[in-house]
Amino acid sequence: MSEYMQAYQVKRVLTHNPGLKSFRFDRVIEAEPGQFVLVWLPGVDEKPFALSGVFEHEIEITVKAVGPFTSQFMNVQPGDWVGLRGPFGTGFQPIEGMVLIGGGIGNAPLRYLAQCLREEKLVFRWVIGVKTAEDLAFREELESMPECIIVSEDGSIGKKGRAVDVLASMNDNEPIIVLAASGPEPMLLAVHGFANTFSPDIPVQLSFERYMKCAVGLCGQCCLDGTGLRICVEGPVLSGHQLQGVTEWDRPHRGPSGRRPQD
């Protein structure tokens, strides 16, 4: 694939629940886990989605309905033409002993990372956090993976609690040497905070989201205040080091106009 628009027919749709589906396209690409594609739904819009899996002849994205685009995407059927461009941005680097930690739909790219880790026969652990059981995609697959620790905020699946809360006891079990996290920003910052309590810090790879328009580092839409780092080029996966100097944590993100809603 490339930055040029190319349409593909949807090969298969996997329905996790009516508002959470995975879509496979007949396409071979080279992509790192954590990298994303732009997905064009003709007549609607084009939005960024991480790859949730790369298979021999197929690539997969997993979409959660949260607004107009993602809701319409739930109607996409096998055979429909969808435009794809990418992969864009930076990926996670698979490392022996890695701990993955995902929140909600943020677990999607970690699924592909886990795939890669397994293929490279690297040991890892994966804390899968969801609000409630039905937010969990690939339930059967994940429940059968010995590496997975599922937690839910309402206790409807796995242990009750938030993913970050598990980290301390995991570290007691066996020291965490590197963390890969993807999910809501507060979770990412909490993971970063946890990693910073150690000396030396635990290296982190954190996948951020910002509103995107070009994904090729041009429009400036996704730049972080303080450093100007572009989430679409230098990110979405950033190291702890790259977080330094950013002045917009915990502030509302800039929208399509470039405006940041009043805090």
Binding site: Q9, V216, L218, G220, D225, L229, G258, R259
Partner: protein
């Protein structure tokens, strides 16, 4: 050591002729600062209007092999937010920052210009390439010399202490004529050109135009010869300094622009085609080009191809 790349643009001292073009990395103080640190001689902010605009849905920016098509739809945070970003930038950087503005009417141009001047940018660039909502056939302001002259005069009336530039496009019968109208009405600088066309790409399988807006302006290396010609024609018509913009990717492209008559050179799409390193790369290649040929100042090359 002399800085061979130094230029004086309407009284503004630039350490390099390279000016970040409007609409690229220009939404926030931080993104502008990053480009300034990487070697731009000046940076231009994204064009802003009176009010916030979300612009068109995506795809709004589309690579097509020789550059980009874009139809962002004048998305911008509105002049108030832009003033705040420009102030933040000026507190943190000495690199000249150019504000860019547009309006839906002549009055609005004047008003936004007056507002943005509060942020004391080094220059106000007036982007007249937006569609004139009052015109037939949705023509852009830039196509009408009289209207562009009027906008220039009105903006000049409200912005007296800061140089103003009119950002022209090729969507007109004669860009030289439009430039003349700017010069006659008090412009200090001409920026040329905005993106070209518009163009359209249709997906053969989806059977629809790919851009959400169907059409979008072309930018990048495909338009360099058009931009060089535009600068040439403007330089023949008026004596204002020109920020030659369109398709510039290399030091040789910069030299072309300067030989055609540009004082400074805009760089936009090359941030995509060549990466943010494009500023420092061009700067060092240009330095070598000049040194090897014993050229000590870009002003020696300015307009030199008009023989």
């Amino acid at each position: 050591m002399i800085n061979r790349l130094h230029v004086n643009l309407a009284g503004i001292e630039l350490a390099s002729p390279l000016v970040l073009a409007s609409g690229v990395m220009g939404l926030s103080a931080s993104s502008l600062e990053r480009v300034a640190e990487l070697g731009a001689g000046a940076v231009t902010a994204k064009s802003c209007g009176l009010e916030e605009r979300k612009g068109h849905p995506c795809p709004a920016i589309l690579p097509f092999g020789f550059g980009l098509l874009n139809a962002v739809g004048l998305a911008n945070p509105g002049v108030d937010d832009m003033i705040a970003e420009l102030r933040t930038f000026r507190l943190q950087s000495d690199v000249p920052v150019i504000a860019s503005i547009f309006g839906k009417t002549v009055d609005e141009f004047a008003e936004v210009a007056a507002r943005i001047a509060e942020a004391q940018p080094a220059m106000v660039e007036v982007n007249v390439s937006c569609p004139n909502v009052a015109a037939e056939f949705g023509r852009s302001f830039a196509s009408d010399p009289a209207l562009v002259g009027e906008i220039t005069r009105r903006v000049r009336g409200r912005v007296s202490d800061i140089p103003i530039s009119l950002k022209l496009s090729l969507q007109c019968m004669s860009i030289a004529e439009v430039a003349k109208a700017c010069a006659d009405n008090g412009a200090d600088v001409i920026t040329a050109i905005n993106s070209v066309g518009p163009g359209m790409i249709i997906d053969p399988n989806v059977r629809r135009p790919v851009l959400a807006n169907r059409m979008g302006g072309l930018s990048g290396p495909a338009i360099l010869p058009l931009a060089v010609r535009a600068v040439w024609e403007i330089a023949e018509a008026v004596s204002l300094p020109i920020i030659g913009t369109g398709g510039v990717e290399t030091a040789e492209d910069v030299v072309q622009m300067v030989l055609a008559g540009a004082t400074a050179v805009g760089v936009g799409t090359a941030v995509y085609t060549r990466g943010l390193e494009v500023f420092s790369n061009i700067n060092s290649d240009l330095h070598v080009f000049m040194q090897e040929r014993g050229i000590t100042s870009l002003s020696d090359l300015k307009g030199a191809a008009h023989v």
